[in-house]
Amino acid sequence: MNEHAVFSAKMRLSDLIAANHNLILMLPRFGISLGFGDKSVQEVCKDYHLPVDFFTLICNVYTFEHYQPSSQEIRQTDMSPLLPYLKASHHYYLQERLEHIDNHVHLLAASLEDKFGRVLCQFFDDYISEVREHFSKEETETFPYLEALQQGSAPMLSDRSFLSYDEAHESIKDTLNDLTQIIFKYLPAKAFSNDAVDLVFDIFQISNDLEKHALIEEKILLPYIEYLEQNTAQAQ
């Protein structure tokens, strides 16, 4: 796939998923269920009352690593589902995926020598706390700020540090990568079972998904906030 190849509203949703099967993970976050047959993206979005420009924007950023939405695209896209989408993503990571992985890590840890098991659990617990903290910071600071901007009331910001995501995203990504390295390279070989292989595979999966989530925030959420800020400044 070249970096200019992007999805359009007229393509069949099934073709998008054939091109990038990971997209199937984000359908539930839009409330879309399977069984859409040969409907186009446009038709499916209509069925679910979703702005099609927003849906394709997410699919494009999610799929094409180098896809960079233009400022015009950010300006013209109907962003009303952005916050619900991000909140649904957070819920999915914390309540579904990470909890599931956490159970597996604890199972794996139980099969290890006690001191190794403890340190592995501690590591993953700390990781989940880090993710939880990052999400909750977004939900209590960034999201309300965006809502205020969307309603045209712009609070004066003395501290804009909550809008810098790079460090937190980098750290979340590194830690998850470290966990996979530790599990498949450094755990005692006798601890290895199919469960451990499944676990590492699950972690690769969520790691990839979280990376896309970070891209969506960096390429859509933050530029959109910037655009709204400029708008509000001009209006005043």
Binding site: K115, V119, I182
Partner: protein, 193 residues
């Protein structure tokens, strides 16, 4: 195969120089440049000799500040008492009264990997074992020490600590302090935190 790693010895004692040359000649990865007995015009010498690393007797320097201007790692050759403050300006200290041949090789080797990591990432002859020095650094990282504290504790420069840490990250594939701590415990380098 990588080109040999060039080492320049700057040491006033001909006996010590000859001894070092003999030890280093046993290792095919190292190549010794013609040794010097004085550190005068060191920057000029380094400009014409293509050295990758300098083994230097600290007594030849009146001012350690010049070390920071050299672009290659400098190891202090120590066999007489020397103050720790001055030695900390070096990237490493080699005490030749006690160092075994293998330790000397390991120390020099750790600088080869830090030097060439840009183009040997996927080389098959890459050594993924942590050197003794890297293990020492890893233990201190796992205990929660900052780079500056590690530098002070091991009498090496911050630059060297950072280069050891880069090597550790590259060899283990682990970046975060938390991950390195788990690794250190699993490998038995530290008991627990």
């Amino acid at each position: 195969m990588n080109a040999p790693f060039s080492i320049l010895i700057v040491e006033p004692s001909p006996v010590v120089t000859a001894g070092l040359l003999s030890v280093l000649s046993a290792h095919k990865a190292f190549q010794c440049l013609p040794p010097r007995s004085s550190a005068e015009n060191l920057p000029a010498i380094l400009a014409q000799e293509k050295a990758d690393l300098l083994l230097l007797n600290p007594q030849l320097l009146s001012d350690m500040a010049c070390l920071s201007t050299l672009k290659i790692p400098v190891i202090a050759l120590q066999y007489t008492p020397f103050d720790a403050q001055s030695l900390s300006a070096f990237d490493a200290v080699l005490d030749i009264r006690t160092a075994q041949r293998e330790q000397i090789f390991a120390l020099l080797q750790s600088f080869i990997s830090s030097n060439k990591n840009t183009h040997s990432d996927f080389a098959s002859d890459e050594n993924y074992e942590l050197s003794d020095r890297e293990i020492e650094v890893l233990k201190l990282v796992a205990q929660g020490l900052m780079n500056k504290e590690i530098a002070d504790k091991l009498c090496i420069s911050i630059h060297t600590v950072i280069s050891h840490r880069k090597n550790i990250n590259r060899k283990t594939g682990i970046k975060s302090v938390a991950g390195l701590t788990v690794y250190a415990i699993m490998q038995g380098y530290i008991a627990s935190v």
